[in-house]
Symmetry: none
Subunit: 130 residues, 4 copies
DNA sequence: GTGGTCTAGACCACA
DNA sequence: GTGGTCTAGACCACA
């Protein structure tokens, strides 16, 4: 599982970790039953405070995505892949919804907003939209 | 100028005020040279502490959108409309960019993202996209 | 007496009025015994709140530069010219002193400060310094 | 970094803090990447309310001189030294410019002004000007 | 531990 | 009346 943490993002580090775990599992990077790196190891790897990783893992456990193996670390649950696909859609959907709600309330014409979105999507996906 | 403040939003109140002033001026709600409601009045109207309004106004002054007339209150500057149109585009554009970047990095197929966006845009603008 | 009021200066308007009166008298623009414009007239001329002019005049009276002619306006006192020459030196001296004290405390080398001063003086007086 | 705060100065406390940070960094007192005293610590040290320090730090952050490391405190940015040297020159230069402009407009002869400046500079730097 | 936001309330200079 | 500054104190998210 790859992590790409930006300490200076507006998104808190623990939330970046959570989302990247969710996105990774939803995309099939990891399968159920697999053991997850320890809090300590991941903290070292990401150069991040262990408390921060611990917090992310706790929330993932509460969500039913991780389960703790009695003192032996964390596993990915059987239901994780399904849960993560749902959660991914929610997370992404909500942020898009908020961005568009703000855009509309700003008074920018719908046409301009649509252009902003389209142009950015093309830039990000590098895909031709025909 | 209409204000719609949500005390429980993740966006700080003073920033909501700033953005709504910017959006309002960018949309032509208020013209340059016009006097702005006083800190105290707006605070009462928004049921918010005067310090919070004052902070928003000070940032707007630093941005060249308001100018303080000593002892008399705040005016909208001559350059405000232009500045606000630029700022609006930046604010809206950045939030859209971040939402889409996250969406793409989540592994959702571009087609799904495009659907999410399109569906939300239609819902918000109530417009028929033919 | 000429006035040059800048509403947006960092120097309060009443203080600009006071200083310009003092500088004017010190420079011999007005002689003792001459009647001064009324608060109301000057306020109109300077497009300034009458309270502001009144405050300036009060301070000038307290300083012995103006004297009120029982309800008939203000005169310049006999001692005004002498007082104003002293005050002018104090006002100018103090602001220069503060500026230089800050400059020195900023850590800029004395040589750099001297250059800044010299260059500005030349610019302002348009005079050749040989 | 030494601080010398005067609660009774006409310059607001938060601005004194800002200027002294700028002057200190411009003079090489602190290097980039170094962590800054915490808001709470500095507030205790300066016997000032934490909010006042926080305001100064926030303006320094907005100026690109400090950067906030979420949950960890403030760092001096890489560009701070350069920014601070520029800012120092601006701050000092502007105050000198204003003082001299006033001096010239006061009607004092250029020669007298030059003497005032020279005498004060000598007093402050204790240096022989030959 | 860190900074960020907000409230309540005081006091001040200015117009 | 206006805004600007400051204090005291609370609460929160984050690491």
């Amino acid at each position: 599982m790859l992590f790409d943490i930006h300490a200076d993002s507006t998104i808190p580090i623990y939330e970046q970790i959570i989302n990247q775990v969710i996105f990774g599992i939803a995309s099939g990077d990891r399968e159920a039953g697999v053991t997850v790196p320890s809090v300590r190891d991941l903290a070292v790897r990401l150069r991040v405070n262990p408390n921060t990783v611990a917090r992310a893992f706790q929330e993932l456990e509460r969500s039913g995505i991780f389960e703790s193996k009695r003192g032996k670390g964390m596993d990915i649950t059987d239901t994780a892949p399904q849960l993560c696909r749902v959660r991914r859609q929610e997370i992404v959907g909500q942020r898009i919804r908020e961005a568009l709600r703000e855009a509309v309330s700003s008074g920018l014409p719908a046409q301009t907003i649509r252009q902003l979105v389209e142009q950015e999507l093309l830039r990000l996906t590098g895909e031709n939209h025909q």
